[in-house]
C-alpha cells in the first residue's frame, strides 16, 4: 500500500475538527498550536516522518478531546501512524536496495590489483616426473626398485656383460671409488642398470620393475652434459617376452608422458647388456618439420633398450632358456628438460630457488 499524503492530511483535519468540538481551553489551544506546524502544511508536504510526529501529538493528549470523540480520534491518529510507519519501512527498504545496488556496481574496485600470495614450497621437477612415471607403471603392475649409488664393479659392469677390457667402459666415463688394495672395486654407478641384476637375484620371474635414480658420469659440464643426472631403468622378465612387448611398453610409456600416441622407431644400438639392443627414437612432439629440440630430424633419441642379454640373466640366476626379458634406460633428466623446456641441464641440481620455485 502506498503512502497517500492527502489522505493522511485529511485525517489530521478530522482530528482538528474533533478538537473543535471540545470546549476551548488552554489545553485545546496548546494542542492546536502544537498541531499548527503540521496543519500549516499542504497534503503534499506532509511526509511520513512528519505524519508520524503529528500522529503522536493527539495520541499523547487524548484526554483533551471530548469523551465521545476519543475513539474516533484515536483510530484516526493510529491510522496516521500506521500509514507513516509503513511508508517509512518502505523507504528504508528502498534505501537499502539502493545501497546494495550501489555496492554491487563495484565502484572503485580494481580487478588488476595484485593479490598477496601465500608463500609456498615446491616439489623438484624430477620428483614430479618420476612420480608420474611411477604411478603409470605401478598401475600396470610394475614394482619400483632402488639400488645403491656407490656400486660395486661387479654389478655396474661385470654382471652386465661389460668385461674389464670392454670398450663400452670407455664410453661410460666412470668415477672410480678409492678402495683398499684387494677389496672389490667400487664406482659411482654409471647407470641404473646394475639394479637389473640385483632385482633378478631378489625377485622370482615373471616380474616387471622400474628403477628411478641418480647416476654419475665423469663428463665435463655444459648446458647439455652433467656429471650427475637421473635415469629410470625398466626391466621385464617373463615367458616369451619379445621385441613386440618392448615396443608395446614403450608406446604406453610415451602415451603416459605426453598424453597422446607418439610414433616411435627402434633402430640398432649397441649395449653389452642387451641383445639385440636398440635406440628408441620418438617422433618429435614439438614440431612437424624439424625444430631445435630434434635437431631438425623430427626424431628425438629418447632411450636405449633391448632384450636382456643371456649373460645378464645368468648373472641374476635366471635361466635364459626358460625366460626372456627386455630392459630400457630412460634419461629422466632429459625427459624433464623436454617436458618443461629447460635449456640448461645444470639448473636441475643447481639449487637456485629462482629455478625451483617455478615448479
Amino acid at each position: 500500500m502506498t503512502y497517500d499524503a492527502q489522505a493522511v492530511r485529511a485525517l489530521l483535519d478530522e482530528i482538528l475538527a474533533a478538537l473543535a468540538s471540545a470546549p476551548e481551553s488552554d489545553e485545546t489551544r496548546a494542542l492546536r498550536e502544537r498541531l499548527a506546524r503540521f496543519t500549516a502544511l499542504s497534503g503534499a508536504e506532509l511526509t511520513p516522518a512528519l505524519a508520524l510526529e503529528a500522529s503522536a501529538i493527539p495520541l499523547g493528549a487524548m484526554r483533551v478531546f471530548p469523551k465521545e470523540a476519543r475513539g474516533q480520534v484515536g483510530a484516526k491518529a493510529n491510522a496516521m501512524k500506521q500509514a507513516a510507519d509503513a511508508a517509512l519501512a518502505q523507504e528504508k527498504e528502498a534505501a537499502l536496495a539502493l545501497a546494495l545496488a550501489e555496492e554491487r556496481t563495484g565502484k572503485g574496485f580494481d580487478a588488476t590489483l595484485p593479490p598477496p600470495l601465500p608463500s609456498r614450497g615446491s616439489l623438484h621437477p624430477i620428483t614430479q616426473v618420476t612420480r608420474e612415471l611411477e604411478d603409470l607403471f605401478t598401475s600396470m603392475g610394475w614394482t619400483i626398485l632402488d639400488g645403491p649409488e656407490v656400486e660395486t664393479e661387479h654389478f655396474n659392469f661385470d654382471a652386465l656383460n661389460i668385461s674389464p677390457d670392454h670398450p663400452a667402459r670407455d664410453t661410460m666415463d666412470t668415477f672410480w671409488v678409492k678402495t683398499a688394495p684387494g677389496a672389490e672395486r667400487l664406482v659411482m654407478r654409471t647407470h641404473t642398470s646394475p639394479v637389473q641384476v640385483r632385482a633378478m637375484k631378489r625377485l622370482t620371474p615373471p616380474f616387471r620393475a622400474i628403477v628411478p635414480g641418480k647416476v654419475f658420469r665423469n663428463e665435463a659440464l655444459d648446458a647439455s652434459h652433467e656429471h650427475t643426472f637421473h635415469q629410470m631403468e625398466g626391466l621385464v622378465v617373463g615367458k616369451d617376452i619379445s621385441v613386440g612387448h618392448l615396443i608395446g611398453a614403450m608406446k604406453t610409456l610415451l602415451r603416459g608422458i605426453f598424453g597422446r600416441d607418439i610414433e616411435i622407431r627402434l633402430r640398432p644400438g649397441y649395449f653389452p647388456f642387451v641383445e639385440p639392443g636398440f635406440e628408441l627414437d620418438a617422433r618429435c612432439p614439438f614440431c612437424k618439420e624439424g625444430c631445435s629440440v630434434c635437431k631438425r630430424s623430427t626424431w628425438i633419441e629418447l632411450l636405449p633398450c633391448g632384450m636382456v642379454h643371456p649373460n645378464v640373466l645368468r648373472a641374476g640366476g635366471i635361466d635364459p632358456e626358460q625366460w626372456t626379458g627386455f630392459a630400457f634406460g630412460l634419461g629422466l633428466s632429459r625427459l624433464v628438460m623436454l617436458r618443461f623446456s629447460i635449456d640448461d641441464i645444470r639448473h636441475l641440481l643447481g639449487g637456485d630457488v629462482r629455478f625451483l620455485e617455478q615448479f
Binding site: 614394482t143 612387448h245 633402430r267 649397441y270 639385440p276 642379454h309 643371456p310
Partner: protein
C-alpha cells in the same frame, strides 16, 4: 667415422640410391648416422674452360690476361697470376658468383686496370689438395662448359657414422664392411675384389719373431722400387672426402687400405728395419720411443713394441716410430700387416692418451684373416700406380692365430618368439645369407656359419643372430604387443610411500622447495666443517680438483646453497631427500637414506616472540611432520653428539617417544660457520638445519589412527605463569603442570617467556595457557582452585612460585 658414398660405390652398385636415403637405411638397420653432407659442394659450380688466348698483363709482369672459353657466349677475360697458365690448357674456372671454400665469393673485378670475370683455380683453391704450384691443368679430353665435379666423377656425399654405435663391429671400420651391409639391405651383390697376393720373387723374406701373445699374427713384406709420388686424383679425393689429408702415394695407399678393409698396416723404411729381423715384444720398464708425432713416449711393460732387433721402432697397433718412417728417398719398404691383442692396444692407447685410426680399429678385435687380404690389396693398388714395384720375396707370416669363424645353432622358433615377428625359416635364411652367413638345415633348427670377419667380437651366440635377422627385417615391421600376465598389485612400497608423504608435507604446508643435489661435497665445504680427517667415500678421478668426496649426510649439501639464495630471498627454505654414504672398513659403504632441510632468514628484531626463531620453526616442522606420519610424538632433548654443522649449544636430538633411539637432529647453525658460509654482514641469517633418518622413520611403528570422541563437556582455560630459576626447562614445567592436572590437562601451550628486573637476577617466568577438561562433567571453580594449589606446590618443588599478577 666418415664414409664416402662414392667409395661405397666401388664395392656395391648404388645406381639410383639417394645418399640421404642410404643413410636412413643404415640408421634403421646398421648404425647411427649422425649426418650426411655433400663433399666439396662448390665443385658442382666450377666450369671447365679452355684458355683460348693468353697475353701478359700490360701493367704487371707476373699476371696474365687470358681469354677463356667456358662454353657459353663470348670467351671471358680473366686475369690470372699462375706461372703455368697458357693458351690451349683446359682449366677449372670459377665464374662470377661462384662460392669457394672459406666463404670466398668470386666477383667481377679490375686487377691493375684490367677487368677480370672469374678465377682460374688451383687444386688447393678447390679444396682438393695442397698443390699450389699453379693452376690445375685438367685432362684435355674434358668438355668445355661442363661442370667439374660431374666431369671428373668427384661428386660425393660424406656419411658420418657415430663411432659409439659400432664399437662392437670391427667389420664396419672399413668401407667394404659397410658396403657389405648396404648390399644386404639393398639386396644387391657385393662387387668382387681381388685380394690375393700377386706372385712374388724368391728372395729371402723378412725374419720376424713374436715374443708376446699380444700379437697373434704378423706379416711382413719387402716392397722394392716404390716411390713417394703424388697420389692420383681418385685416391686423393676419396681420402679428402673422409677427412684424411693426402700426403704421398705410399702413405695415402696405406691409409686407403685401412679405410677400405678396416685393417691398419704400416710401412717402414727397410733401411731402418729388418736388418737384424723384426721382433714383437713387450716393452721393458724405462724404455722410451719417439713416435711419428714427435713425442717421446715413456713405455711400460704392458706396452707391445715392434723392434728392429732389440731397438723399438713402433708402438704396436698405435703409431710408428719417428726413426723408421718412410721418407721421400725411401724406395725399399717393409709392409707390416698384423693382428694385435685388442685390450693391450686399448690399454696403452688410453694410458698415453694416443688414439689413432689404427688403435681405434685394433681395440675392436680385428679378424686375423684380414692381414693377408690387406697386404695383397696394398700391393695390387701400388703396382697399379707404379708397375715397376716388385715384391722380391714371399711374405713372412707368423703367429698363433686361429680361424675365428664358427658355427652357431639357431632355432627359428627362438627368432620368432624373441622378435615377435612371423618370420619363417626361409625368410630367416634369406636375411642371413644376404649378410654373408652360411646357413644349412640342422634338424628343426638352422646351422649358421659365421665368417671370421663377423666372429671375432660381435657374433658369438644365438641371440646375436636374432639381432642380425631383426635389424635387416627391420624392427619397424614388428607389431606392438601388450604385456600379458596375471596382474598382481606390486607389494606395498612402504619406503616410497613414506618418502612421498615427507616430500608432500615439506613442499606443501611447510613451504619448502625441494632440492636435488650433487652427491659430491666440495673440499671447501669439508674444510669449513673441519671434517678433513673424517673418512668419506672418495673417487679417484674427480671431475675437478677438490670434488672427490661423497657426502656422508644430505644436510651437508644444503650448506653451500644458503648464501647465494639468501642474496635474493629473505626467507630460504630448502629440503632434500637423498642418500649419504659412510665408508666401512672392508665392506661396501653404509648407505644412509635421509631427509634434511634448512631454514635461513633475516634475523628477527628484538622483541619478537620467543619462539620466532629458525630453530623453533625447524623443530615445529619436524614435529608436524612426525605427527602427519602418524608416529609417536617427538621427544626433544639436548643433542649430545651434534653434527659438524650444528651449534653445539643449540642442538636438539629427536626421539619418537621417550624410549626410542635418536633418529635425527635439529640445530641452529654452528656460529663459527656463518662467516665461512658468507652469512655475515648484510646476509647475516638466523639459520637452522635438520636431518632425519628415513630408515629410522620407516622402522618406527606408526600408531593406528583412531578417532577421539569429541568432548561432551566444556573445557576451562586457565593461564598460569611460573617464576623459576633460569636453569629450569620448559620440559620440567610442562611435566609439573601435567602432574598437577591429575589427568584433566587436555592441552598446554607456552605463550610467553619473560626474564627481567621484576623477577630478579637468575630467574625467568614461563606463562602457559592450560586447557582443563573432564570427560564426564563440567569443571567448576573448586576444580580450578585445586589445580592451582597443586601447581603452587609443584612450582615450589622446582624452586619457584606461581606468579600472581
Amino acid at each position: 667415422m666418415k664414409i664416402s658414398y662414392r667409395w661405397l660405390a666401388r664395392h656395391v652398385d648404388l645406381t639410383g640410391v639417394d645418399p640421404k636415403a642410404l643413410a636412413n637405411e643404415l640408421t634403421l638397420s646398421t648404425a647411427e648416422v649422425e649426418g650426411v653432407e655433400r663433399f666439396l659442394p662448390h665443385l658442382a659450380n666450377i666450369t671447365i674452360g679452355h684458355v683460348v688466348e693468353r697475353e701478359k698483363h700490360p701493367d704487371a709482369d707476373k699476371l696474365s690476361r687470358c681469354s677463356v672459353d667456358v662454353g657459353a657466349g663470348e670467351p671471358l677475360q680473366i686475369v690470372c697470376g699462375a706461372p703455368n697458365v697458357r693458351a690451349g690448357l683446359k682449366v677449372a674456372v670459377a665464374t662470377v658468383g661462384t662460392e669457394l671454400p672459406g666463404d670466398f665469393k668470386i666477383k667481377k673485378s679490375k686487377i691493375r686496370g684490367v677487368e677480370s670475370n672469374g678465377m682460374i683455380c688451383s687444386e688447393r683453391e678447390l679444396g682438393l689438395g695442397e698443390e699450389h704450384d699453379g693452376i690445375w691443368e685438367l685432362p684435355l679430353e674434358l668438355t668445355v662448359g661442363a661442370k667439374l665435379g660431374a666431369a671428373l666423377g668427384l661428386e660425393d656425399w660424406v656419411i658420418e657414422i657415430d663411432n659409439k654405435s659400432i664399437t662392437h663391429r670391427p667389420d664396419l671400420w672399413g668401407h667394404r664392411g659397410v658396403a657389405a651391409e648396404v648390399a644386404a639391405i639393398l639386396r644387391r651383390p657385393l662387387k668382387a675384389l681381388e685380394l690375393t697376393l700377386p706372385a712374388t720373387g724368391a728372395g729371402s723374406s723378412c725374419p720376424v719373431r713374436i715374443e708376446s701373445d699380444a700379437c697373434s699374427r704378423y706379416m711382413a713384406l719387402h716392397i722394392q722400387g716404390a716411390r713417394a709420388t703424388r697420389s692420383p686424383l681418385w685416391l686423393k679425393s676419396l681420402l679428402l672426402a673422409v677427412g684424411q689429408r693426402p700426403l704421398d702415394l705410399l702413405v695415402d695407399l696405406s691409409n686407403f687400405v685401412m679405410l677400405d678393409l678396416g685393417q691398419p698396416n704400416h710401412l717402414f723404411d727397410a733401411r731402418r728395419i729388418g736388418g737384424s729381423g723384426i721382433v714383437v715384444r713387450k716393452a721393458r720398464g724405462g724404455e722410451t720411443l719417439a713416435t711419428l708425432d714427435g713425442v717421446e713416449r715413456k713405455l711400460e711393460p704392458s706396452d707391445l713394441l715392434i723392434c728392429n732387433g732389440d731397438e723399438p721402432v713402433a708402438l704396436a697397433g698405435i703409431m710408428g716410430g719417428e726413426g723408421s718412417k718412410v721418407t721421400g728417398d725411401t724406395s725399399h719398404l717393409v709392409l707390416e700387416v698384423a693382428s694385435f691383442h685388442a685390450a693391450t692396444v686399448r690399454r696403452t692407447s688410453a694410458r698415453l692418451g694416443l688414439r689413432t685410426d689404427a688403435s681405434a680399429r685394433f681395440e675392436k678385435s680385428l679378424d686375423p684373416a684380414l692381414a693377408p687380404k690387406a697386404a695383397a690389396h696394398l700391393v695390387r693398388l701400388l703396382q697399379a700406380e707404379q708397375p715397376e714395384v716388385k715384391i722380391t720375396a714371399p711374405a713372412t707370416d707368423v703367429g698363433t692365430w686361429k680361424d675365428a669363424s664358427k658355427t652357431i645353432r639357431l632355432r627359428g622358433a627362438r627368432v620368432r618368439t624373441m622378435l615377435g615377428a612371423p618370420l619363417d625359416d626361409a625368410a630367416i635364411t634369406d636375411i642371413l645369407v644376404r649378410l654373408g652367413f652360411g646357413v644349412t638345415k640342422d634338424g628343426d633348427a638352422l646351422s649358421v656359419q659365421v665368417p671370421s670377419i663377423r666372429a671375432t667380437k660381435d657374433i658369438g651366440i644365438e641371440q646375436d643372430l636374432v639381432e642380425e635377422v631383426g635389424r635387416i627385417y627391420r624392427y619397424g615391421n614388428i607389431t606392438e604387443v601388450p604385456l600379458q600376465g596375471v596382474l598382481v598389485p606390486p607389494p606395498r612400497d612402504e619406503r616410497r610411500r613414506l618418502v612421498r608423504r615427507i616430500e608432500d608435507r615439506l613442499a606443501g604446508s611447510a613451504r619448502f622447495h625441494q632440492q636435488l643435489s650433487y652427491s659430491f661435497v666440495p673440499d671447501t665445504t669439508i674444510e669449513k666443517l673441519g671434517q678433513q680427517a673424517t673418512p668419506h667415500v672418495e673417487v679417484l678421478n674427480p671431475i675437478t680438483e677438490g670434488a672427490s668426496r661423497v657426502r656422508r649426510s644430505v644436510a651437508v649439501s644444503l650448506l653451500p646453497l644458503v648464501e647465494p639464495n639468501r642474496r635474493r630471498f629473505d626467507d630460504v627454505r630448502l629440503f632434500e631427500v637423498g642418500k649419504g654414504y659412510v665408508p666401512v672398513e672392508g665392506a661396501e659403504p653404509q648407505e644412509l637414506h635421509e631427509v634434511a632441510f634448512v631454514i635461513a632468514r633475516t634475523p628477527r628484531k628484538s622483541g619478537a616472540s620467543f619462539d620466532d626463531t629458525s630453530l623453533a620453526h625447524a623443530q615445529g616442522v619436524v614435529e608436524d611432520l612426525v605427527r602427519s606420519l602418524g608416529l609417536e610424538a617427538c621427544a626433544w632433548s639436548r643433542c649430545e653428539t651434534p653434527a659438524a654443522w650444528a651449534h653445539p649449544g643449540r642442538a636438539v636430538a629427536l626421539r619418537l617417544g621417550a624410549d626410542s633411539s635418536v633418529i635425527g637432529e635439529v640445530a641452529a647453525l654452528e656460529p663459527g660457520l656463518a662467516r665461512a658460509l658468507g652469512l655475515a654482514g648484510e646476509l647475516e641469517s638466523d639459520v637452522a638445519l635438520a636431518r632425519l633418518s628415513i630408515d629410522a622413520l620407516l622402522a618406527a611403528a606408526p600408531r593406528a589412527r583412531r578417532y577421539t570422541p569429541l568432548p561432551q563437556f566444556p573445557a576451562t582455560r586457565v593461564d598460569v605463569a611460573l617464576a623459576l630459576p633460569s636453569e629450569k626447562t620448559a620440559g620440567e614445567v610442562k611435566a609439573a603442570l601435567e602432574r598437577s592436572g591429575k589427568g584433566l590437562v587436555a592441552a598446554l601451550h607456552l605463550f610467553d617467556i619473560y626474564a627481567g628486573e621484576r623477577l630478579g637476577a637468575g630467574r625467568k617466568s614461563l606463562a602457559w595457557h592450560v586447557t582443563l577438561q573432564a570427560p564426564d562433567r563440567t569443571l567448576n571453580e573448586a576444580d580450578v582452585k585445586k589445580f592451582l594449589e597443586r601447581v603452587e606446590r609443584e612450582a615450589a618443588q622446582l624452586g619457584g612460585e606461581l606468579r600472581r599478577e
